[in-house]
Amino acid sequence: MSTTLAIEQLPEVALTTPVPEGNPVIRLDHIHKTYTMGDVEVHALRGVSLMINEGEFVAIMGASGSGKSTTMNILGCLDRPTRGTYILDGEDVSQMSKDERADIRCQKIGFIFQGFNLLARTSALENVELPMLYLGVDAATRHERAIEALNAVGLAGREQNHPNQLSGGQQQRVAVARSLVNHPALILADEPTGNLDSRTSVEVMEIFQRLNRERGITLVLVTHEPDIAEYADRVIVFKDGKIKSDHRVERPRNAAEELKNLPVIDDEDEEEE
């Protein structure tokens, strides 16, 4: 198996848990990323090898400058590795052109960002329909799937609201719905709770856990908050452009259980429920 080979070539990376059996969605093989800033070469990634299987919920952690954001950009096909191979859902995407990567992002990747990144002055429904627009889905199906996705994140009845009429948590749920609609092989969440208060963070994590457990969606979450990482099944820690540790979480926190014990904050959208 090539993965075993790759790990043998990298003695400094120690896998604390064996990779579980299953279909690999992500396979990174000796990924290097070097930025040239003027005369200085910055080595953001120095040989990262990694395998993530279908249905995994993985948290990527690390201090700033550890290479986690660069990894995220490469995983999301927003950027290309300088060296190494990246196989996403069976396809080698490491040397793809800009347009090819746009198509891959459209078909296989759902994005969730820290700043929500919804289109302003655009209804929740239209925001969720957007990825399907670029995939060329017809209007009726688009509408149907967008409604379904908004229901799945608990936003039924909020379809016509614009982002500025929604709370932060609700906006992030619209973003989650948007990431789901094209049935991607992978959902990437970059600091999804960074702009949210603790209760709303737990709410979002609850949605993630539910999507992962019930639908088997592969989730990769980048965070610098250790307590958020504990909701994932596996935590990968980056340091200095390399993987420092990769371990399974024995007993992940259960967001649904915690929500029951958290006091309900009285705000307008809670009242409606």
């Binding site: 927003l78 347009d99 655009t122 957007l130 627009l133 670029y134």
Partner: protein
């Protein structure tokens, strides 16, 4: 993603920013409507000059006493009291030039006309009986005076519509008496109404009498300042012009070195000159209006550039969720084309309305030209593409990672 979707996305983006879209379009609206209105004014002027010239007759020639001004220097004897254009000259032209069909002198006398207790001041023009045919001016009632009236210098007069209305309100002027400079005349005919000319002068404020009568009884001298000559056809005007020149030089005993002491001009030249003038005017007006269209286009480019910068994050989002560069480029390009074409469409409506309103408010004739409309549509589409391309390319070339980080 097909074109229809891109157009919808572009429309939505514009609707989200209605005020800005409207103001940007205003530049194109003003430009297009100005081009259409200006071209309409030009074409209207051109058409009315043309119609006027045609009504005078394109086979018409003018023979006038004195030489033309050349470079501001008056050469030849000109209007110095010499009787250098005479009735005999005109008789000779009529008799000896085969390409000439009709001739009439035209002698003006500013006169006071009195009919009963009404009086009127106008030009009484002495002409020959061929005048109505040469000028293509039909008689409304009565008849024009005859060859016999010319020979006998009869005191008969044909009046224009304005005189008929003012001197004989409610009665038939035919056969009525009229006093011209205290001499009794008889009204024999009323000319058909012509209305105002290009300069707004009333062309019906006229009276015609036999030239012999005007020369002998009103002016008391037999000089002729100008004569109208009708060539047998429009094609014959140039032949007629040179033949008349040769004949008059011979009759005036001018040697080869002496300049003409008369001027022969033909209507075709005048028509062409007038045509040239109005064409130049139309082009000039269209160019000035075109500048405003160009400014409108630059306005679009400016707004599109602002829009691209302002929507960097949106572009980043669209790219991250799978928009190709070409989709982003098309979106912005189509936004700018939609802006310019919508502006163009509104501009056409406004331009046509203006063109139709100008005659009512300013009294200028206008002619809405299909060419100006089609031209404006094409031009505004071109403006949209040309001025939208650079901002669209800028948007498409953004890096999604950078764009997403943009605050």
């Amino acid at each position: 993603m097909n074109l229809l979707m891109i157009i919808r996305v572009a429309f939505r983006a514009l609707v989200r920013n209605k005020m800005r879209a409207a103001l940007t379009m205003l530049g194109i609206i003003i430009g297009v409507s100005a081009v259409i209105a200006m071209v309409s004014i030009g074409q209207g002027a051109s058409a009315s000059v043309q119609a006027q010239i045609e009504s005078i007759g394109t086979n018409l020639l003018f023979v006038s006493a004195g030489a033309q001004n050349v470079g501001g220097v008056r050469s030849g004897t000109g209007d110095t009291g010499n009787q250098n254009l005479t009735v005999d000259d005109l008789e000779a032209i009529k008799r000896e030039v085969p390409s000439v069909s009709m001739v009439t002198p035209s002698v003006n006398a500013r006169s006071q006309l009195v009919a009963g207790n009404m009086n009127w001041n106008t030009n009484v023009t002495g002409v020959s009986e061929q005048y109505p045919d040469i000028r293509k001016w039909p008689i409304a009632t009565g008849s024009f005076f005859t060859d016999a009236d010319i020979r006998t210098a009869a005191r008969v007069i044909v009046i224009g519509k304005t005189l008929a209305d003012n001197l004989y309100p409610g009665t038939d002027p035919i056969g009525q008496d009229i006093r011209v400079m205290n001499l009794p005349f008889r009204v024999v005919g009323v000319l058909a109404a012509k209305g105002q000319d290009q300069q707004g002068r009333d062309q019906d404020d006229v009276a015609f009498a036999p030239y012999t009568t005007v020369q002998k009884k009103i002016l008391g001298r037999d000089r002729i300042q100008i004569a109208y000559v009708s060539a047998i056809s429009q094609d014959a005007t140039y032949t007629a012009q040179s033949q008349i020149t040769d004949l008059l030089r011979q009759r005036h005993k001018l040697t080869a070195n002496e300049p003409d002491d008369f001027t022969v001009r033909n209507m075709t030249d005048i028509a062409e000159a007038a045509n040239e003038t109005s064409k130049t005017m139309t082009i000039l007006l269209a160019c000035i209006a075109g500048v405003s269209l160009l400014v409108g286009g630059i306005g679009i480019m400016n707004i599109m550039l602002v829009s691209v910068t302002e929507r960097t994050r949106e572009i980043g989002i669209r790219m991250a969720i799978g928009a190709r560069s070409s989709a982003v480029r098309s979106q912005f390009l189509i936004e700018s084309i939609v802006l310019s074409l919508t502006g163009g469409a509104i501009g056409i409506v406004l331009g046509v309305v203006l063109s139709l309103a100008i005659p009512a408010f300013l009294g200028w004739p206008t002619l809405v030209s299909m060419m100006a409309i089609v031209g404006s549509v094409l031009f505004s589409a071109a403006v949209g593409i040309f001025f939208g391309y650079y901002p669209a390319r800028k948007a498409a070339s953004l890096d999604p990672i950078e764009a997403l980080r943009y605050e």
